[in-house]
Amino acid sequence: MLVLLVALAAAMAGSIATALVCRSMARRTTRRRVESIVARCDVDTAGSAEIEDPFLVLDRSVRALLEVRQAAGIDAQRLRDAFDGVPHAVLVFGPDGAVVDANVAATPFLQARHGDALVGAAVEALVAEAAGTGSATTTIELFGPPRRVVEVVAVRIGDADVAPDATGVVATVGDVTDRRHLEEVRTDLVANLSHELKTPVGAICLLAETIDGDLDREDLERLTRRINQEAMRLAATVDDLLDLSRIESIGGHGGGTVDLAEVVAEVVDRLGQAARRAGVEVHVDPITSACIVSGDHVQLVSAVANLVDNAIKYSDAGSCVHIAAGVVEHEARIVVTDEGIGIPSRDMDRIFERFYRVDQARSRETGGSGLGLAIVRHVVTNHDGRLDVRSRLGEGSTFTMSLPTGVAEASTPKEVDLSSSVGTA
């Protein structure tokens, strides 16, 4: 019996010892695995791993990892927002040439149609080229409408030796229409300015040389008349240039109160004779509301006179120029409509440039300095207004000058319907 009891006790002690050994081994194994996991987590748990419960360490590691992940998430979101905030379209291509990422501005070029489809095709071609050469650039001119110039740049990214899967090409698409336009304006201005000033001077020199010879009285009179005409033309150009320079340098208006009805009346009075000479009827619609704006009387007369002068010059004899003025939605508007030759759509964006001529050949026939519309634009800008133009070749043009009614609250002018004659740019 005793032997049995001893044997039982020994067996139990053996089992307990075995269980204890197993448990200790399991704990060591667990600790090793936890330590391995913690090490893989790559987070700072210094000083705690040796003494504490491995599960506590694991818990702390997981928490630290979650914090790191959250911080990485915030960083990634910030980068994403910055990526989407870039005004240029940015497309990232993977090593297989497929799009892996694109910002908001690039959306139109994915599954694109019309002009954008051609930009998309150019991007694809450039990406293939840049994958080999490192970088590639091209400029695409699209006739639209709207007409625009687009620049595409593709650059290879990543290092194939370090991370082959992270290599690829990044392509950017930028609209350079305005930049191209400014370059054209700059080059054309110099050429046009020298043309406008040199042509009359050249003519005067030539005519003066001819006079120097032996001439009868009739020829002499004809030549002096021509010299006079050319001198007047040159003087008019210089006057307009000085006007434009003055209006530009003021950069605002005097802040006086101007009645547009008076402006229109003064312009019609000034240009009445020119209209009769051209056989063009100038018709002013009755101005029923008070069109009072805050501005400079002289500048506004100059602007409206230029619009009406152009309307008369580019109209055929027997046609009519309409002038209307009124208040629409707290804006005073002057609308000048003609039935003249109209403006080609491709020139519509450029007619407000200095010395820009739709048709150089006609400029000498019609006279004028080529500065009229540039002056109008500056006057409107000085008055915080807007200038819209609507035109069709062979049918006529409508220029609409909209100015804020500075005294709208005081006089609350009656609104009139100008919608039928108001054009849009």
Binding site: A112, R113, H114, A121, F143, R346, R392, L393, G394
Partner: protein
């Protein structure tokens, strides 16, 4: 099998993207050719004529892809209609590009002739309408929108009206001896080219309708003809019966 279908649909997508691209090239040629015509831009005309080769290359490539899919994938139902439509559209678009080449050649032939502002304005308007119709046709195709496709025939009426005004304006300028007979004929032909582009857009619209629904406007005529034949046969039977 799924891998094969994936490749098949990838090929169909590629054909669609290429066609949209071809449509975009034609859409660009229309305002470009008009600008060349109105600005007497001879070097531009030469470049446009040369650039038509790009359209020809792309349309040939699309056709070859279509043959490839037909031969190897043997598409059925809507897939087959999509391929057949693509082949038809390639030809319509390629022809529209050729018409703009004709406009550029016309610009060369009337070089130096000063066009009346009214004629210039009407040419601009025809160009805008033709370009709009072509873009609508491409939109209808890309969206597989049968309603838009069929509407293009009615939208084209506007271009026909402007074309009518244009022909009248040519008569007027010729009568007032501003433009000679030869340039007048050239101008009339140029107007016809724009009008034909509108017709090609209408054809594309009808093909889109076929792609989406399997029905073509010609089906109505065919049904009418069959009804007439059936009636005639029945009438003959009656006569024989009476005899």
């Amino acid at each position: 099998m799924p891998e094969q279908r994936k490749s098949f649909h990838h090929e169909l997508d590629e054909i669609r993207d290429d066609l949209v691209r071809l449509g975009a090239l034609v859409g660009e040629l229309i305002p470009r050719g008009t600008e060349i015509l109105l600005a007497n831009d001879m070097s531009g005309a030469q470049r446009l004529i040369e650039d038509d080769d790009i359209l020809d290359e792309l349309s040939l490539r699309i056709e070859e892809k279509c043959y490839h899919v037909l031969a190897l994938q043997q598409p059925m139902a809507s897939d087959l209609r999509a391929i057949v439509t693509a082949m038809w559209m390639t030809s319509e678009l390629e022809r529209s590009g050729d018409l703009m080449v004709n406009v550029a050649k016309g610009a060369r032939r009337i070089y130096g002739v000063e066009l009346a502002p009214r004629l210039r304005g009407l040419i601009e308007r025809m160009s805008e309408e033709a370009c709009r119709l072509m873009k609508l046709a491409i939109d209808a195709y890309a969206e597989c929108n049968a309603s838009l496709g069929v509407a293009i025939a009615d939208i084209d009426d506007q271009l026909d009206l402007i074309h009518g005004d244009y022909i009248e304006a040519i008569f007027e300028t010729h009568a007032s001896s501003n433009v000679g007979l030869q340039p007048s004929v050239q101008l009339a032909l140029i107007g016809r080219y724009y009008e034909r582009i509108g017709d090609h857009a209408v054809n594309i619209g009808q093909r889109v309708q076929y792609m989406a629904t399997g029905w073509m406007p010609e089906h109505t005529g065919v049904a009418r003809l069959q009804a007439r034949r059936a009636f005639a046969d029945a009438h003959v039977d009656d006569e024989f019966g009476a005899a």
